[in-house]
Symmetry: C2
Subunit: 305 residues, 2 copies
């Protein structure tokens, strides 16, 4: 069985102070799948596109050992589109437009051959759909899930129902504060893990990430980047690298979860170095391991006492 | 020889959402000295107070093996006073008042017996005064220095002259951005170390601290605190713990600097748990080492590959 990834596929228009792209390959399932593809295959992707989705984008996915059999193509439909603009410090972004298009009526049907998937990564989509996915699976052993402010505010009940089934929730610091209704992240982490997830990862952008699991806290550093080119997809790449590494190693021990957090951070750091998915297209496991070691060295200390 | 600490002593009035204090023991030299006192003695303090400085505060210092012979008491003068108010998230503070009083004409005269000090920590005071201190020392081997936005903006020339002599500059992220005139902290670190300091520590509050030394970067986690009671003095406690540990170990290798950063973070975490200097008054080296180990565990990962 492969790693099941469900989420959005889209055509992104992105403006940063450095450059812009139109109708670039995007979407949460895309970033997750590309990031995860460097660890072990196959990646089994479920999502929806229109007939305007470029053939060359399908080729990029296929070239990364991503099985697109679960992609629904709506005849005559238009693919989901998102437009955003980043400001100088790249922490602030304005959404310019969101066209749901074929995503509006998306019904995530899991092909029979994917239903026995043991490792699942649910990209950031409506929790109602995320629940529908889980309902079709026979024996998931690791469910990693992302969400966002929009669903925390608008679909809280469905989200809470979902969280009871989720093993690892991956969200950023503002989402954690909103979900827990608590500004202190340490207190928030306890409130959120009480909602169901055995493990919680809080991503803090340029300040790294924190893993809360089995009553312990792991603090992962951020990669010291002199230049962030395009932050789009960083969170999805994190989730993809994290889940991909766990899928490859089949080891859910606390220490291996820590390693997976560093691999997630590694993939996110590659993602933001180039526009759109470019940073994830030409990697190798060797390159990933080199940066993983750089990450470890950032917080390494030889304790002689 | 002892560890020479020069800075302010003051009477602080602090309001937080939890409590308030008036005329509490404060000042950069106070926090630095108390934090450093747990590592090795004696601490040799140079500063100025008025005759209104309570005898019991002198006793607190003396009880921590702090030599107050370098304290100038201005007869009939009033001690430096500062008042501040913290808001709910404790990251924002308003200065309510600053009364320089005896600090206005402070001339830091280093007693002869302190002039051969090898280890020096310059608390956050006017860089003109910090320069005056260094002029009186015969052979300093480690000069750790703090500063703030006020001096970066108002006394840039003196500060730049000072930085040429400083071994370790300890500032926070907003100060680093201002000093380097560069928003990216990695780029800023290079600009600042080009100004003179061999090592730079950038404190990031709830996001930990970064050490830049010998071309490498070390990322230290923050202690996961559910409750910060009073942030006053956290930066000074960091500098005191950092310098105190180096003074005790007499080892300026990159790895020992990393350990010192964790000890600095440790002392800062104790500081903010109680009001004013209370968090630094009843520690022990054992308590400090226990928390130091907790810090190490936060970023520890067993790398099996």
């Amino acid at each position: 069985m492969g790693l099941l990834v469900v989420g959005s596929l889209g055509l992104d228009t992105v403006y940063t102070p450095f450059d812009k792209v139109e109708d670039a390959l995007g979407g949460s399932a895309t970033y997750i799948s590309l990031a995860a593809s460097y660890f072990s295959g196959p990646i089994q992707m479920v999502g929806v596109i229109g007939t305007d989705f470029p053939k060359q984008y399908i080729d990029i996915l296929a070239n990364h050992n991503i099985d697109t059999e679960g992609l629904q193509t709506i005849q005559g439909g238009k693919t989901f589109r998102w437009g955003g603009k980043y400001h100088y410090d790249l922490n602030v972004r304005d959404t310019l437009f969101t066209e749901l298009n074929v995503f509006k009526n998306f019904d995530p049907i899991i092909p029979d051959k994917f239903k026995k998937s043991k490792y699942v990564c649910l990209g950031n989509i409506d929790p109602t759909l995320q629940l529908k996915v889980l309902d079709q699976l026979t024996d998931p052993q690791l469910i990693v899930c992302d969400t966002m402010n929009y669903w925390i505010e608008g679909k809280k009940d469905d989200l809470l129902q979902l969280l009871e089934q989720v093993h690892v929730l991956v969200i950023n610091d503002s989402e954690a504060r909103l979900l827990a209704d608590e500004p202190n992240l340490i207190k928030a982490s306890k409130i959120i893990t009480d909602m169901g997830p055995q493990s919680l990862i809080i991503k803090k952008g340029e300040h790294g990430a924190m893993l809360f699991t089995s009553g312990t806290i792991f603090s992962a550093p951020a990669y010291p980047m002199e230049m962030i080119f395009d932050p789009t997809g960083a969170g999805d790449s994190f989730a993809g690298g994290f889940t991909g590494y766990l899928f490859k190693t089949r080891d859910l021990s606390p220490n291996n979860l820590k390693c997976a957090v560093i691999y997630g951070s590694t993939l996110a750091s590659f993602c933001v170095e180039k526009f759109s998915t470019k940073g994830l297209e030409d990697l190798s496991y060797l390159k990933i391991q080199d940066r993983y070691r750089e990450f470890l060295n950032l917080s390494r200390i030889d304790d002689t006492e």
